[in-house]
């Protein structure tokens, strides 16, 4: 049976929650009603008040409101979603049909079922995933693309198997240098290039690089790549291919638009507004960054002690310090790092601030990592609008 368009039974919010929360993924794997059969009742009014701020309705791109970042783990239904083409048809990723193929420069090609994969040793990594374009909206001049602000990032527990265990099954041949990752998602029009990415073999063989089938202890939700996605801790999420179906070992980086043109940075600084030149490198590791989660943008705070809270992270380094400024960066005071510290997770921080005078105040924060890298006031411009890590800013009104 199909829910079809004649049974309007589900509000936009419940539909979203259903798709995001993993019920979709689980239902799907159990051969339940495909996501496609769900009906969405339009209201439009929940656009900014639901679990996510929707940037693009289709394919679905949505970010987490920064106020939600007060928790160490980001719940699945609030976790940002970036889609190049959106989820593949449900039949293709149903457990009965889905296979992971490993080929290219390997001793022996393999085809694995989800059950085969789950027989391998399970590992859990808590890691930040962040869209490479997070903060693109802050670049001037403006850069084309989804205008992400502060919330295309999240911290979750990912459970799955080590990519290197899968690669060892197949046997990596001597001259393989790159691992190509291909998901089952397809563009609406076949002439649009596929989202095909590759990562260097060293990153693929790193013991913390995993293929995840669980997110925060529950089956990977459909919009997050069910049944299996790549997680490359410390690296930007453009390497974290969703709906993974094909792993191909190559001597060179993958061909194609999404590897050779998009998701690249200029090797040398470029003039703001210039177009990309030939000397570029792929976006890989995350850069040091911090965000103010509370108080929220536009909040009215009392003339009394206020708890400023947020989180900070860096790709392959430890966060050493977070500083807060309440006078546009003239003076900085250290925040207290709190909570869990794990290699690829974000670190929470807080600072008690006692405002002295009523009026409008901007709270700025900047993090510094162990390598000595610190957030700049504004990230040098790049044509793709990637890796924004300028000081974060929240403006509040101190009440009388």
């Amino acid at each position: 049976m199909s829910a079809g368009a004649s049974e309007p039974s589900c509000s936009r919010r419940t539909w979203l929650a259903w798709l995001l929360g993993g019920v979709g993924g689980a239902g799907l794997l159990m051969g339940g009603r495909p996501a496609a059969a769900q009906v969405v009742e339009e209201s439009g009014s929940h656009r900014d008040t639901g679990p996510l701020t929707i940037r693009v309705g289709r394919p679905f791109d949505a970010e987490t409101p920064a106020r939600e970042f007060v928790s160490f783990l980001t719940p699945n239904h609030r976790f940002f979603v970036r889609s190049h083409f959106g989820p593949p048809p449900s039949e293709q990723i149903a457990e009965a049909n889905w296979r992971l193929r490993i080929g290219g420069l390997v001793e022996q090609s393999h085809e694995l079922t989800l059950r085969d994969i789950k027989r391998l040793e399970a590992v859990t990594v808590t890691a930040v995933l962040q869209c490479s374009g997070n903060g693109r909206a802050f670049y001037r001049p403006r850069v084309p693309g989804v205008q992400w602000e502060r919330g295309a990032v999240g911290n979750a527990q990912w459970t799955g198997v080590r990519l290197r265990d899968i690669l060892r099954l197949a046997g990596v041949r001597e001259h393989a240098r790159h691992v190509q990752l291909q998901g089952a998602d397809r563009p609406a029009v076949p002439s649009v290039p596929l989202f095909t990415r590759s990562i260097p073999l060293e990153k693929a063989l790193h013991p913390d690089t995993i293929l995840a089938y669980e997110m925060n202890g529950r089956p990977l939700p459909l919009l997050h790549g069910a049944p299996l996605r790549v997680v490359t801790p410390g690296w930007m999420a453009d390497a974290c291919t969703k709906w993974l179906t094909d792993i191909t070992l190559l001597a060179e980086e993958s061909e194609g638009y999404y590897m050779r043109t998009a998701y690249r940075l200029p090797l040398d600084p470029v003039e703001p507004g210039a177009t990309a030149d030939n000397l570029t490198k792929p976006v890989e590791a995350m850069v040091v960054k911090s965000v103010v989660a509370a108080p929220a943008e536009g909040a009215v705070v009392p003339l009394a002690p206020v708890m400023i809270q947020g989180m900070a992270w860096s790709g392959e380094s430890r966060v050493l310090a977070v500083d807060v400024s309440l006078d546009e960066g003239k003076h900085w005071q250290p925040a207290r790092l709190v909570g869990e510290e794990q290699p690829y997770a974000w670190r929470q921080w807080q600072l008690v601030w006692t405002p002295r005078v009523p009026g409008s105040v901007s709270i700025l924060c900047r993090a510094t990592d162990e390598s000595g890298a610190a957030q700049p006031a504004a990230t040098p411009w790049n044509p793709g609008g990637f890796l924004w890590n300028g000081w974060d800013r929240v403006t509040v009104t101190v009440g009388g």
């Binding site: 199909s2 368009a5 496609a36 009906v39 609406a188 649009v192």
Partner: protein, 207 residues
């Protein structure tokens, strides 16, 4: 209300006149140009762009003309069915409405009745859908969301969908949209819709 609409039409006329006179797109003229071009440009956006992505992706950009040109070129290169003339119109419209100086929140343009892209030739007698034609129209306009073979994707599976038996609801949905589905009334002709319906209804739904 009525005055507002009349004013909008006047502004639109003025915009067309200004454009026809070959006025350069000065900062102050861009609103007029956007209003003048909007009816056809917005129809084109639904017909050619929203096949792959919703129009909110467009509306959040603030780009100079050369970036819009590059973007429309890229989309044509990737298979967007945009003719040279349509491409020029789109670039003119997009760079007038979504330029770097445009405010974050733009006032909506009163479109009135969107200009149909397909000029209907009046047909005599009842409308009969041709399933064979419907396959191509579906592939071009509907498949992006409803999946190859109408087996579902981001949008509902339409093969075997009960709505096919409720023609009034089918037409209502196609013409006016529903939920995240845009209205196709200004894009598809009556014959197109009938053809798609015929093709969908004839599909083998045993699988």
């Amino acid at each position: 209300m009525r005055n507002g609409r009349r004013a909008a039409w006047f502004v639109m006329f003025a915009g067309v006149a200004a454009f026809a006179a070959g006025t350069q797109a000065q900062e102050g003229d861009s609103d007029l140009i956007a209003v003048a071009l909007a009816p056809r440009a917005e129809s084109l956006i639904v017909a050619r762009c929203t096949v792959c992505h919703s129009d909110d992706l467009i509306a959040q950009q603030r780009l100079p003309r050369e970036r819009w040109e590059a973007t429309v070129d890229k989309m044509r290169h990737w298979g967007a069915q945009i003719s040279e003339e349509e491409s020029n119109l789109l670039v003119r419209y997009l760079s007038a409405r979504y330029h770097p100086g445009a405010p974050e929140r733009l006032a909506p343009i009163e479109l009135g009745t969107a200009e149909p892209l397909n000029q209907e030739t009046p047909i005599d007698g009842p409308l009969v859908g041709v399933a064979q034609r419907g396959a191509g129209i579906f592939e071009h306009n509907c498949q992006a969301c409803h999946g190859a073979g109408a087996m579902g994707g981001m949008g509902p599976k339409l093969a075997g969908n009960p709505i096919l038996k409720h023609e009034d609801l089918f037409w209502e949905t196609v013409l006016h949209g529903r939920g995240p589905m845009p209205a196709w009334g200004s894009v598809l002709s009556q014959q197109d819709i009938a053809d798609v319906h015929a093709w969908l209804s004839a599909k083998d739904t045993s699988r």
